[in-house]
Symmetry: D2
Subunit: 215 residues, 4 copies
């Protein structure tokens, strides 16, 4: 039986991916923040001792609080540097991805269009997207695909926290609605189920036509 580890797999997009991989017959290890807190490097070290290899790895984590630049403290930077960047690096350094496997990274549209209020997230998710791109080349010979999904506005608790009036906000979106976590879960499942491997080293903006840039 193939194995899938989904970090941040108990809520939102991570949960949707966990469900979709379970439906494919994967042994799914979906961590909640209690089980693995990537902002705590000791928690990461414990985790990678218990889990040493996998076929599918999904790197996903909640975002930092909305804070503008001048109110971000040194403690904030360091905490979220761990949570959004360093914890993921340690996981990729320690957990072996089996040949022919997949690594998915769930980032955010802010990696391309950084957001004033989400400056911590914009910065560290960009940093990790860079590492991830490099590793897509390193792992390519082992037929392991690295796919960075950058969601726009998705119907999660997180979005509801960040947006005051979701109904009004939806009217401003091209599709007049938020994306559904299930669409991303199904997307991940479809890639794996169809053994699509040549999709690697790519950022997939999953944003319902909301972004302005062509590429």
């Amino acid at each position: 039986m193939s194995k899938a580890i989904i970090i941040g797999g108990s809520r939102g997009i991570g949960k949707a991916i966990s469900s979709s991989l379970s439906s494919l017959g994967y042994e799914v290890i979906a961590t909640s923040k209690k089980e693995l807190d990537t902002s705590n490097l000791n928690s990461v070290k414990d985790f990678v001792q218990k889990h040493t290899e996998t076929d599918v790895l999904v790197l996903n984590t909640g975002g930092p609080p909305a804070k503008e630049f001048f109110s971000v403290t040194q403690e904030d930077w360091l905490k979220y540097h761990n949570q959004l960047f360093l914890g993921f690096c340690m996981i990729l350094q320690k957990i072996k991805i089996n040949d022919g496997g997949y690594v998915f990274l769930i980032t955010s549209s802010v990696i391309k269009e950084p957001n004033e209020k989400l400056i911590i997230s914009s910065a560290y998710r960009s940093a990790f997207a860079s590492v991830f791109k490099i590793l897509s080349k390193t792992f390519a010979e082992k037929n392991i695909s690295f796919i960075n999904i950058a969601p726009g506005p998705i119907n999660t608790d997180r979005t509801k926290e960040l947006i005051d009036n979701v109904k009004e906000y939806e009217k401003t979106l091209p599709m007049k609605r938020l994306g559904e976590p299930k669409e991303i879960g199904d997307f991940v499942k479809a890639i794996i189920e169809n053994k699509i491997k040549y999709l690697s080293g790519v950022v997939i903006n999953f944003d319902g036509a909301a972004s302005s840039f062509v590429y």
Copy 2:
């Protein structure tokens, strides 16, 4: 029964998409160059009179010959302007995409990393990618998704024409192989089959980790 029109559907990537959509139960109209030559606007006009609506539209066409800038003639520019740009514009102006449908555009990695020998293709595919991005927003309200797939080196007749020694070339690629048309065919099928709609206005680099840019 739902309908899919695949321009350039008789060979290579287009053929793979035709097969995959047939397997989903679509009524597939896959045109060869004889049936629809997008470099000939009269051929396009005939086609859009016969085919006035569809659920899925795949815009795909062969590439121009390899030519460096100073040897491209006015006739070359005009011919491929029709084939790679204007024909597609006319098709999108005339063929109605049914609500909830999909439009896929098959471009090339040269839209992002333009190639000296493929300068005609680089230019006009970029131009149409721009139109396509704009239309992704226009059509979003009708729940129609616009997905631009930009393949890297794929195992098609075209690639064999352009590359002298494919075996040697493959060794230089991160995955040590060309991509298979079927991977793209399966990708398109998977999007449609799973009713993934929020993926729109996006360029998907399908290149086996070959590109250098992060985004």
Copy 3:
């Protein structure tokens, strides 16, 4: 005496560049639409017979009228294909750029963030930006720099035509004002005056921090 040819040099940004290069002591040939209409290929052919070489070339042209996709006619596409793309290709095929020279291209922020109402401009300017990138490499050995300047909202007649209430619009901009043509003229002058050559193959978004993408 060194020579500079500025296409579209009688108004707006082109005029500002003409003035700044005159102040550097260049022999400036600044064409108005009467003297060279790039939408008319015969006009282009006449021009390149009279002007066969230059040290500095500035490719600049007015934009097409605002039109949304479904109202663009075949005649519109063909006219602006000439004006924004093919005329420039012919000029670069025929006018020799002297070693150590410069070619500047004035495009628009729409090449990166395409605009629904400026769809013709978005498409063909993108196409030419692609050609221009390729040529930056071809000409690099001759120490000729290719610099693509992509202005955002600049204080020109064109902007006043496109924007209803400029005063109100300016309030929405990060700098609370339009850019001045002179800033671009001075920029071009500064590059040339300081013999900065290693800046080539680059797109310079000149938009007062208005764009959303990081790169």
Copy 4:
């Protein structure tokens, strides 16, 4: 007399910028690593207590050693997180930029095309580029321009350390040479001297046409 602070101003590109700003009559504070070590947050805190405001700020720092992903230690990540990211954040939080001023950031072409051996630099420079983009908007109302210069291969000690055979390497470059620090120094000077303000929120790839992406 106007003031300019140049971090990492004693060598390479930083030194060239220091010279060019001195020639403009600026009071130049150019720090060496002894005077300000951005990898040491206490050193940064000392510095921002002594230097509380400036007209021009140049954020520049040496790069980390070449190391591939699996040999980067936790200590490495944390040290260069300080040096390339957190130190700069603290400087921008504490040093007041006077109205009408300039902030230049010297990054690297690896922010756009990340490099396997320069993975630390690729990651943290990307992170800070994201912060910098956001701040370009925040500071725009005060007429302060934020300009990110991303050099390609420049003739510095750093490049000589990283490249084995510089002569051979130069033959592979489009311009058949490295860029000169003075070209960047002159570029910065030219922007300031000509009071060009509308160039902000932009990444300027200064790479002699070496990059592959169009944008």
